[in-house]
Symmetry: C2
Subunit: 245 residues, 2 copies
DNA sequence: CAGTGGTCTAGACCACGAG
DNA sequence: TCGTGGTCTAGACCACTGT
């Protein structure tokens, strides 16, 4: 077993330098979500560090949400999950009161020159080709969310070839499998506004009734913007809850 | 320096048992916000633990938001601050674009029997006396928030004797100084609804226009509910932003 | 059982803040 | 300069998981 020297700024603490090396491995796809990391013993031998120092580096990445630890099993690259999304505060239950993923009906899918506000978000040139999509999400035939989605065509060209039946309600696994684009995290913005005539028709509510608007910009491990979407749902179905200190 | 035995369940790790002992000190008011904790060296001597173990206990409480560490100065009981409140997402700026605390105008202050939904939140008996207050918050004479506040009279009796001019826009310091009630944390719930006629009049918007509604239940260190409030503001001034993974 | 992470010890030395 | 927390070492032993 040969020893590897730690790269990085020599003024930084060793555990931070190790953390950066491991973070880069994940960001560059050398280690993929679900992969097991080398054990703490292996890493301390590899880099010539005390076990406690290696532990500190791994802890930093766990706090950061990049890794997950399981006692007795190992340390793994975390599979991004969007359990923390604002969408979980919509009261979407079926008749039996259980949480379910709403079905998806694609209303429109086309290639358009990206409007400037979309291009800015996706960090592409104004007017560059983008895939535009409208979806309606339904629970037991009842519409619950109206969505508008934009993707840069350069990365998601393969998405256009898919039949609607091949695209389920969850898009991120499709992005990964069909386009090789892995979503690592996202930024969400929430506001409320009166329903336009069009939105009211889709959601079957009164024009002007309050709707919750959630904008989401999804990004890859390397911070590239991958998808922008705007979703609208009935405000009376939304209750966000949080604890503050 | 006598050594103190660690109380608590002997099956738990030492660092957790130490953390619980220190947490209790804060919850019972033995150590108050702003107080400096004993140094790590002092604690390890006091309880006969290795410095690393003491460190782990303190780290747990720092992660928990109970303590704050300052390199070279010490470890302190954190002063609760409500920087993380949902209210920070209201775009409240004055003419120069600076963030400011809105002034407060008290519209009503009285003692009422607690309605049942308030009593349940404050964990007091249905109909027990409670202080009820309506406030309007303004920025440059413009109304920005309409608030309804409820306090259990048993704890906040002294609050009734204060003149309005003695109450500023920030209530929690008043609760502490005048009533001996320290707010440690709070739960907030956000939704949106159409403005009632009354709310519309107060906020000077159209009836039915969307308003953001934030309910807050403030609690003491010992988890006692202290204050319930409902605040309403214009939805078009509200943009919540968050990152998810 | 072997291998993983979790807890704990008993130090050393460094970096920062205040007087 | 002194006391604080921050980094790091080099182990020991425990608890959990999978085979």
């Amino acid at each position: 077993m040969s020893m590897t020297a730690l790269a990085g700024d020599e003024r930084l603490p060793l555990y931070q330098r190790l953390a950066e090396v491991l973070r880069r491995d994940v960001m560059e796809g050398v280690r993929r979500p679900g992969d097991r990391m080398p054990s703490e013993t292996a890493l301390s031998a590899e880099y010539g560090l005390a076990p406690g120092t290696v532990r500190q580096a791994l802890s930093a990445l766990v706090d950061d949400g990049l890794l997950e630890r399981f006692h007795g099993r190992g340390t793994f690259v975390r599979r991004p999950s969007f359990d923390r999304s604002l969408f979980r505060f919509f009261r979407f239950r079926d008749a039996s009161g259980e949480w379910r993923i709403p079905e998806s009906r694609i209303l429109k899918r086309s290639v358009e020159p990206a409007p400037s506000h979309i291009a800015r978000q996706l960090r592409i040139k104004d007017g560059e080709p983008a895939i535009s999509m409208s979806r309606l999400r339904l629970l037991n035939e009842a519409p619950v969310l109206a969505e508008e989605i934009w993707l840069p065509k350069a990365r998601f060209g393969a998405f256009l070839d898919l039949s609607e039946s091949a695209i389920g309600p969850l898009l991120y696994p499709v992005y990964d499998a069909q386009c090789g684009q892995l979503v690592a995290r996202a930024e969400e913005t929430l506001t409320a506004e009166p329903a336009s005539r069009e939105t009211a028709r889709l959601l079957r509510i009164d024009t002007g009734a309050p709707v919750i608007v959630i904008d989401r910009l999804a990004k890859g491990f390397d911070d590239t913007p991958l998808e922008w979407r705007r979703s609208k749902g009935r405000a009376d179905q939304f209750h966000y809850h949080t604890e503050i200190r």
